[in-house]
Symmetry: C2
Subunit: 140 residues, 2 copies
């Protein structure tokens, strides 16, 4: 999907507990720091659809597994009207950079699922749009 960046991340294993990379300011996809927040999503539940008109999101899943679905309604994008799906987890440990104006929904896959969003700007209602899950048909 145009502008979406998938970046494999390092996990450093240790008997006492691991270190999991998230993002560095020098990494590709970094678009400034506005806010960091977590979402949990229960097994089988879907949160979405949401779209930001200004925020670039950088999403990492450090616990559990989360299926992310993106839907592109940017008329000038080559990926217009198409979906992109990726499941993030510690077994498939990657960061997804999501440019503005892409619809996002996500589903919990494991018992405990945690998603970190490193957002380029602070969340404000005026640049966030939410629509019902049924508004965009996807076969979850």
């Amino acid at each position: 999907m145009d502008g979406l960046i998938i970046t494999p991340l390092k996990q450093i294993h240790h008997p006492k507990g691991d270190v999991l990379h998230g993002m560095k300011a020098s990494d590709q996809g970094y678009a400034g720091f506005g806010e960091a927040y977590f979402s949990t999503v229960n097994k089988g539940q879907v949160k979405g659809w949401k779209k930001h008109t200004k925020m670039t999101m950088n999403i990492v899943v450090p616990m559990g597994a989360v299926k992310l679905v993106f839907f592109d309604k940017r008329e000038k994008a080559s990926s217009f009207d198409s979906f992109y799906t990726v499941t993030l987890s510690t077994d498939n440990y990657m960061r997804v950079t999501i440019p503005p104006n892409i619809w996002v929904a996500f589903q919990g896959q494991a018992e405990h699922n945690l998603l970190l969003n490193l957002a380029s700007i602070e969340h404000t209602p005026d640049e966030a749009e939410s629509i019902d899950l049924e508004s965009i048909h996807y076969d979850w």
Copy 2:
């Protein structure tokens, strides 16, 4: 402890899964964004001691419970030679801002414990010091 900031954070509960605040660029304690990384720490295990000479750390525990112990060897600080202890969890959901030059160690309290560090600069070996756990006596 001088310069340490404890900030209660909001959790927004939802049947599908919660939203947990982490940090905003406008929050007290924000000292720039260099890197975000996770540490897990197994139950009963202690990671430490570590000290950063330049990095300000902002620590949040979005899963499990982590006991953090700080030891102040800054000779000019009023808290010189003293310990400060706090246990972070989703039940005691707060952010701890740790200025440079404070020794830190932490212990896992629950089955699965996850700590996010929002670091003001990227991690480099030249500003990070590690010493053995036994070097600073604390009765864990």
